[in-house]
Structure formats: structure tokens, C-alpha cells
Symmetry: D2
Subunit: 344 residues, 4 copies
């Protein structure tokens, strides 16, 4: 397998390189970037010395077309232009940006405030929520890899919505995220002294992952409703904890919710349903491709609190992308990904 990473210098790209390094089917990884062309990569990022001592290459359509698979981990608005001309070749593409996720182009333009990708490319793309879309992923030549927040939210809610155990109407989702999701471009939002010892809410009701979540609820659970969704930044690097609040349907018990999740994911190696817990946190999945889910019913209010945790850079980005590659190419779904979380 010859693999390319476009946007190698970003955090998504770095994480792809970390995980692919131990993937036994991957023989060669080429690194592309729009800047620092020709620079030895391990001189820019010292942690890669002895691992990726190779020059960064200029993004070049021809070079990409000669690879088996290309991951694009670029800011919004890049891959929508780069990839469409290449889709008729033999190379498979997995795009980690949001450019091909929203089937409704107006939604893209409204939430991303950028031009949408060409409609035929968007139509052709397959939404890469690995546990829910395997058959399409197997056949896909272009995968729109899900966003970090949607992954955490959808894996925990889709089974319960599909089985009609919770009301989709009135859903409130409060997601907390580490700072790495903001990427590697310095700004006041990510400046250490402003971010450390600070928990802050931002983009209230305006996050571009909102339409993605709603679209997937419709797509996979055949039910949706506008969600209230907020995102809070917490002073850590990795991890998302998403807390969802839903009215349970009449007569539903905590046991039923738990069993529904267990049954849904029984054969999925990366989703773990946690029953008893005094504390349920992001460190349980740190550095790994796991998604852990916990559900608890409040009998006083008839509402369920559903909590899920992922590593935003792994299951929320690079890990799920590799999981999708494994599915596409018929490898073991866990190839290169079955790592023990760091925890500490």
C-alpha cells in the first residue's frame, strides 16, 4: 500500500502518521503540504526523528493519482477543489475536512461560510461513520470522514433514536473538548495563558457540526429534529466528552437503554458500553480509537443522560479514517488501531 497524506503538518496529519507507522499493510507514506515544501519533516517536528526523516512534497495531482489511498487533512475549502478532478482514477480518498460531509450544499455554505464542493462529488462521497455505514464504505472511492463531535454524539445516540427509546425532539447536547481540535495555528483562542485554567464556551448554537449530526440522525435512524448543541473548551489537549440529554419514551428503563447499546455494538471492537462507574472520563480512551458510552436515567425527570468519550484526534479523526481505510481495502477493521489507551 502506498499512502499519501495531504496536510501532513497539521494535527490530523501528524496523528495519521503516528497511527499508520505501525500499520502492517502500509509500506510507504508520502507527505504533502502547501507550505514548507522540500523541508525534512523531522526537522520541523522533532518527535518524528528516525521515523519520518523525509522531505515534504508539494501537493501534486499526478503524484496523488499514483497512490493507493490519499488522506486529505486540510482546512475547509481545500479538498473540495483538490479532489473532484481525481475521483475517476484508481486512488481512493478519505477526506478529514468537512468539505464532503453535508449532502445539502446550502447547508454547507450557510454553516461553513464557504463555497460548497461540486454536487456530483458530494453525491458520490460516503459518510464514513465506520460502525454505521460499513457496506457503503467498502465500495467508496471518496469518504467524508466524520467530524469529532458528530462521532462522539452519533455513536451514543443513534441506537437509542433508531429503537425509539428516546425522543429526538428536544435533544440537548453539551460537548466538551480539549484544545487540539482547534488545530496548530496559533491564535488567542489557543494561546496557553488564555486557555490554561480556563473553561470557556464558544460558537454557541453556531458550530458547523450541527447540520452534520442532524443529517446523520436522519440518514441512520430515520428520525431527526433540530438539536441544541454547544461546545465548551477545557484546558487539556486531547479528548471529547459529549453529554446528551433526552426525554425517554414512555415506559423505557435504564436497562433497556443499556441493552440497546450493548446489542448494537456487540460486534464492534471500538465501542465499549460502560455500566457502572463513579467517574467516566476522557482519559479512558486517550490515544486510542475507542468510544466509551454510559447512560443513566433520571426517574425524577424522565430524562436520560447519555455520555460518550473519544480521543478527538483518533476516533474523532485519524483513527476513524484508518478504520475506514481498513474497511475499504478489506483489512481487519482493527489493523494498526488496537492500542491500549494511555490513561495516565
Amino acid at each position: 500500500m502506498k499512502v499519501g497524506i495531504v496536510g501532513a503538518t497539521g494535527y490530523g496529519g501528524l496523528e495519521l502518521m503516528r497511527l499508520l507507522h505501525n500499520h502492517q499493510k502500509v509500506k510507504k507514506i508520502k507527505l504533502f503540504t502547501s507550505s514548507d515544501e522540500g523541508e525534512i519533516f523531522s526537522q520541523k517536528y522533532g518527535h518524528l526523528k528516525k521515523l519520518y526523516d523525509q522531505p515534504l512534497e508539494k501537493i501534486d495531482a499526478k503524484a496523488l493519482a499514483q497512490l493507493d489511498i490519499v488522506f486529505t487533512s486540510t482546512p475547509s475549502g481545500i479538498s473540495s477543489k483538490l479532489l473532484p478532478p481525481l475521483l475517476n482514477g484508481t486512488t481512493k480518498f478519505i477526506d478529514l475536512s468537512g468539505d464532503f460531509r453535508l449532502k445539502n450544499l446550502e447547508d454547507y455554505e450557510r454553516w461553513y461560510k464557504k463555497d460548497a464542493a461540486p454536487s456530483d462529488a458530494v453525491e458520490q462521497s460516503v459518510y464514513g461513520l465506520s460502525e454505521w455505514n460499513k457496506e457503503e464504505i467498502e465500495e467508496a472511492s471518496l469518504i467524508a470522514n466524520p467530524g469529532c463531535y458528530p462521532t462522539a454524539v452519533l455513536l451514543s445516540l443513534l441506537p437509542l433514536i433508531k429503537e425509539n427509546l428516546i425522543h429526538v425532539n428536544g435533544l440537548v447536547i453539551d460537548a466538551k473538548s480539549g484544545i487540539s481540535g482547534a488545530g496548530n495555528k496559533p491564535s488567542m483562542i489557543t494561546h496557553f495563558s488564555e486557555t490554561n485554567e480556563n473553561t470557556a464556551i464558544y460558537k454557541i448554537h453556531e458550530h458547523q457540526h450541527i447540520p452534520e449530526i442532524e443529517q446523520a440522525m436522519k440518514m441512520f435512524a430515520n428520525n431527526h429534529s433540530p438539536i441544541t448543541f454547544t461546545t465548551t473548551l477545557v484546558p487539556m489537549t486531547r479528548g471529547i466528552l459529549a453529554t446528551s440529554y433526552a426525554q425517554i419514551t414512555s415506559g423505557t428503563t435504564e436497562e433497556q437503554l443499556y441493552n440497546c447499546l450493548v446489542n448494537q455494538y456487540h460486534n464492534n471492537p471500538f465501542v465499549r458500553i460502560v455500566k457502572e462507574t463513579t467517574k467516566f472520563g476522557t482519559n479512558q480512551v486517550y490515544g486510542s480509537n475507542f468510544c466509551d458510552i454510559h447512560v443513566k436515567v433520571d426517574l425524577r425527570t424522565g430524562r436520560a443522560t447519555i455520555v460518550s468519550v473519544i480521543d478527538n484526534l483518533v476516533k474523532g479523526a485519524a483513527g476513524q479514517a484508518i478504520q475506514n481505510m481498513n474497511i475499504q481495502f478489506g483489512f481487519d477493521e482493527t489493523a494498526g488501531l488496537m492500542q491500549v489507551p494511555l490513561y495516565i
Copy 2:
């Protein structure tokens, strides 16, 4: 003013000492503890050298009765036994524990899993939410100082509930807190390596601040309903960010919600209503007695997201306690408390 602090070695006690040190009406501070009796305080806590180089004293009812005011900052179940016999004297008491907050003794025993205080003492106590209960606080000899979460939640929601701008039915409150709220007793929950780089949810639906919030909604806004309330620990020391989700009543606009809050707190020095913000966080109030509030309506869902931040050790504990003392004794409400937040 001769002041006593019972439980001086806990974080609540330390913060009282920090803030009272610059209070111009306070001449003498005596420190009481159930352990380390006789020890020079600044040898236990080096940061107090040259500031509190005095011995800790044994808790002694007679000694307390000779003071003008005593703050009890003790674990649940201590002040409920210590204070009742002292309530007929001239000393005023402000209790920072939860022992006198819940008027319904069964609620206390259910949520705290301890014996309740004597009913006459509980009846006599005044709930010290400074901005909402000034007249009673002025006359009180025993103040039940509010919990940290209730303070953040109630200040932001009470005006909107009272004015019938949001539905109290269906309220969801997702509160995030730094670790100092767990006190200074080491445990796995507060062990650095388990807590750092970790965001974790705990005590889902079971926090003892739930009945306190519901009681105060009834008391001050004459309306209440069971709330869904969760608490998430984030890896920082100080600060609470409480995010509340409420259905707005028919026809209500964001402007109305904002104006309601501005009008309510127009004359309150410590509550700040923030209109425009790209990021709204706990560092805005770090080390200060401020509570900042922001509200935003989601037109897609007809729901309002109301966010408030406090320093849990100041406005959520020691600062509000001193504010209450100021009100009780007729001092300027801001005496000793008008400090600029550290921010960085």
C-alpha cells in the same frame, strides 16, 4: 470585628483568610480546627508566612461565643451539631457547609445521607444568596451560605424564571467545575495523574446541590420543577461554568432575556451581564467575587442557552460568605471583595 474561622485548614477556610486579610473592618481572625491544634498555621501552609503566623486553636464553643462572627467551613454533618447550642448568643454565624440549606429535613437526609440539623435551627437559618435575599440576610444570626453550583445556576436563571421568560419545566443544567471544589483531602478522584488531561462526569443526577437549586427556584421565583443536573470535572483548579438549557416562553426574544438580566442586576456590583462574546470563560472571574452571565437564543429550537461563570472558592463560597457578612453588619457590600480577576 473579631472573626473566627472553623475549619481553617480546608480550602474554604484558606480562601476566607485570603479575602478577610484585606477587609478593613476585620481586626482579628481566630483560626479553629479539629486537627493540628497548636500548630503554627504558616508552618502548615507556607504561603501564609508573615500573614498568619499564629497557632491553630481547638474548636471551643466558649471561644466562638465571644466573637462577633464565625464562619464554619467544615464537612457536612459538623456544623449541624456545633452551631445549634450557640444560636441564642450575640455571635453571628455563616455556615459554608450544606447543613442548614435545605428546609425539608428529609431532603437533607436523602441527598446528604447524614442526619439533618435540628429543625428549629434550620428554620431559623437564612439562605444567603446575597443578591436575592438581602433583607433576610441583614437580620440573620445564622446564614446558610449557598453551594457553589447553586450560586452559578440561580443567579443566571432566577430572573428569567421569575419573569416567566423561560419554562422551568424541562430545564437541563450542565455544570463544569475545577477540582478545588472537591476539597483538600487526597483521593483517586483528585489525584493529579488521574485528573490532569481528563474531563470526567460524576454523580450523574445525584448531586446534593439539586434539591438546593429546586428549593431556591421555588423560594425566589415561585416556580420550580425537577431539574436535570450533571457535573463535569475539568482539569483546572478554580472555576465553575454552568450551562443551562431552557425552552423560552412564547414570543420571547434574546433581547428580552438580556434586558431582564441587566435590569435585575443593575444595582448589584458583582453580577455582570455580557452581551457580545466570542468566548466566555471562567478566567474572566478568576480569584474574584464576580458572576458573569451570557444568554443566547437558538431560533432553530426555541431554546435559550444561559451560561454563567464564577470562581467556586469566591462567589461560590468564601467571597459570598463575606458579602453576606457585609450585609449583616451594614458594611459596604463590596468591602474586601472588589478585586480585579486574575484572568491570566
Copy 3:
């Protein structure tokens, strides 16, 4: 007192505002900046709402000349141009940058890689190490406020060098600092995801505070030698811990070193000598103007380890500047500054 702050939007400026807010002699504070002119300051920095709701003013020589005292907290190379023309007026100046610290102009140009200030202005300036230069500070119209590292290092070493208890030759100084010392300009060095969970050494042997330390050793202890000095960034916002290693002179005991420090600072309110400690850290002085010092002799090697901690933004910058103002104007040296450290 009418006070001006030039560079109000930087972290030094913010800290001046925090501390001056409670200074009883300060009636009016004007804020100057080279950017954001006209903007209401508390809209830029939300934590200042209700405290500094005033517009930023353009830096203007005439406006500065009408104030009693002006603090310049600007990047290197600004005050060296701004202040010299104003030095003949009645306004006193305290410069928090390095522009007037080095008496040898070539040293400035070599270490700062910028043009030095005019020589007469540099000559006129007084080095504001409060505890060591009070008489000159009282008379000064221009004070060069010491750097953060030099303050921590000099306060701990000067007494021992002056009394010939340690050898100045062979001194090794290993200083650790929080990130706020790097200011508020975003960069990869201060980007949260690169800085969190990372301890990193930078500018080895090249820090511009090296000549400042050596100059002050000569100035105050009449002895100096090239020092080995490194700086390590640790993942916290505030605080410096400086560890110095020195050969003790023949026959010197730990007791003598301790007593020397105690005697030197007996009448200095902000310097605390700590004898026994299991752990000695920056949180002991967090948010305060204290400098804590601890010394320990290693009999196996005949070497002393001298450790000092300060809050880099307070004693290492704004706090010491205000202490100098107090000395200049004949106020109590502790006015506005005797605050209890936050510790937690």
C-alpha cells in the same frame, strides 16, 4: 495620583491594572496603547467589566507629561525611543521593559539585538531592585524595573555573594518559568497543544537576562563572574522557580547561609526565608509580591542549592514596579501589595 500605563493590553499592563485598582493613593489610571485606540478596554478584556470601562488612548507624549507617574510595559525597543524626550519633566517613569537596564550599551545591543537607548537616559536610569536600591529609587525619575528571572535570582544570591559565603565563580542557575512570561502574542512557543504536558528548555545560554544578572552582582555585591544560566518553560501560567548551585566558601555551614538571608531581609516585608520544607513551590507566592527563598547545603559536594520562587507577573514585573512607585513617592512600601497568595 494620576497614573498612566503604556502598553495596557499586554500582560504586564493588565497586571499593573489589577494591582493598582486597590492602591489607595491612585485616583485615576489612564491607559495607552499603540493599537485598539478608542476601544473600550473591558470589551477587549471581559474580566475588566465594571472595573475599567474606559477607552484606550493613543500614546501621546503630551498626555504622558501631565501625569504623576507612567509605567511603560512595552516590548523591547519602544520605551528607549518614547521616554528620553520626557525625562526633564515632572513625570516619573517606571519602565518594565529591558531598555534601560544595561548600563553597557554594547551589552544591550549584543543580547537584545536592537539599538540601545541614548546613553544619557541609560545613565540617568536607576535599577529598581527594590530591596537593594532603595535610596537611589527614592530619587529616581526613571526606573529600569528588573526582569523576572533576575529578580528571583538576585534576591536569593546577592546576600550570600556579598558576605562571601558562596563562590561566584562557577555559578549555575537553572530557572523554570510559567508561560505568561512570553506575553500575549500567539506563537507556536505558546500554543496550548504544544505547551501543555510539555517541559522544554529554550534559549540555552542566550537569554538577555544573563548580562542583567551579572551587572547587578557587580553593582550590589561587588563581585561577579560569567554565570551559566538556562531557562525552562513549564506548563503553567504564572511563576518562576530559580535553582542556583554554588560552591560554598571554606567552612561555611547551612546555618550561616540561612542566617545571612534572614538578617539581610529582616525588615523587608516581601522576602520570606523558609527553613524547613518537604516541598517548596511557586504556588506559595501565586498572585502576590512575595519572594520565598530556601537554601540547602550538600555536604557530599560542598555545594549549596539556593531556591527562590516569585510570581513572574507580580514581584517579577508589575508588583515590583508598584513597590518602586511606593518608594519613589514615599508611600508605605507595601501599599496595594500586601495580598495573600492564592496558593490554590
Copy 4:
């Protein structure tokens, strides 16, 4: 290979489990503990669900004797009693505690303040500094795995001492460590609120790793002298940055020091010599078995500053232990260990 871990519930044990999980030669891992016997391990540590869903076993000499290799990751004073009776069997042992490191039993008792292991067991043990003791490690039945600080210090200094490029006399070593080195037992030293936003020095001149470093300098570089060694705790979980200060020998250049290191480690996969750097930090090796080294000469003082970084739980403990197992059993030295550092 059947592997046992004694002390599985500690951080050393957890890290062994993390790394061994992907080691292709390891088929079965048995977990032993002195507490929680019978408990399903993944119920205690949720991050291990689906990975180690097996019960903890009681420490039992017979069970250990049936394994191919046993790692003991226990507090001081345990393995010195557990292992000696087992040393004549076929099982190989790698002890991660300090019990077998010091050949001089009096040194052990003086620095550890505990009874030493039996002298014949200590004599038989091989010091497992992988890069420096391969031949002995290959033959060893009991390996004393090096301490975290000694690993970081020795790898960076031994080549320079051996080649006589720096003076061993007068060495100053200032090591900074994350908190995980203190293990998983809660205490005030590791309590989040006391540790976060705090850099603190502890055990000045008294750390038990001092005699280990001096012994290894004699053993591998045939030269030693009492060192001055201090340890500073910084608010992060993983990582050690050790800064060593040494007088260079006459005529030595930075280039020579650099080349000496490069030559020494040319064939060692886990040691990386870094030439140019603006910032050199622990995140370069986070989660990996790498040790990165940087050296810089200060011409003003004739002194070299040598900096090294490791992950204390990997190269400083579990990683090096597995590297030693690989050497003992003739596996590829990097088996299970060639992972890309997390960096972010």
C-alpha cells in the same frame, strides 16, 4: 511467551500492560497484585475494557515460577523479599523497583531507609541500562531495571565522561519530572489542587537515585564523583527533562560533544541526538521509548549544558524493561516499542 506482571495496579504495571499488548512474542499476560485479588482488572481500570478483562491474581511464588518472564513493579522493599527464592528456576525476572540496583548494600539502606536485599541476589542482578549493558543483559536472570532519572541522566552523560570530554567533578544535574513518577497513591504531594499551576522542588540532595547515578558512572565510564542532583516536580503527568551542567575539558568543542554522542548511539534505535533546536521538550518523546539528547557549550563559562528528555513511564520504566526483555530473549530490540511519540 508467558509473562507475569507483579504490581499490575500501579502505574508501572499499567504501562507494561499497555506496551506488551502489542508485543508479538507475548501470548499470555498474568496479572498479580497484593490487593484487589480476584477483581476483574478492567472494572478497576475502565480504560482496559475489552483488553484486559481478566481477574487479578494473588502473588504466588509457584505461579510465578511457571512463567517465562516476570516483571515486578512494586514499591521498594517488596521484590527484595519475593524474588531471591525464585532465582534458581527458569523464569527470568525484571525488577522495576530500586531493590537490586545498588551493589553496595549500605548505600541502599542509607538512601532507601529500608533493609537491603540478600547480597547474593544483588550480586547476581544485572543493571539494565539497555544501551550500555547489552552483553550482561543477554545472560541475566535478574535485571535491575534503572530508575527514571538515572536513565535520562546516564544516557546523556556517560559517553562524554567516558571520552573525557567533560569533567565529572563538579557535575550539577537539575531534573524536572511530571507527577506520574510519584505513583498512584494519593497524597498531598500529588493532590491536583496543590500540584496544578505549581512547580516545586523536593528531596533536595536526598533522592535515592543519586547513588545509582554515581555507581553507573563508575561502572560504565570508569569515573565518578559526588554529583549535585535536584528534582523538580512540574504540573504535567509524563516526562522527564534532565539538565546537566559540566565543565568541559580543555580544548573540547561543542562539535566534539555532539559527535561523541552521535557516534556512541549510532546503532541504537531509541537514542536520538538533536543538533539544532529552538525549543527542546518532553513532548518529543511522549508515550515512546525514545531518549532525545541535546548539548550546547557556553563559551563564556567553559561549561556544557547537556539536556535529555524521556517519558518516565516508558524509557524510564516499562519501555526499557521490555527492551531488556527483548535483549534477554534475543528478540529484535525494538519489538513492541517502536511507536511514534504522541507529541500532542
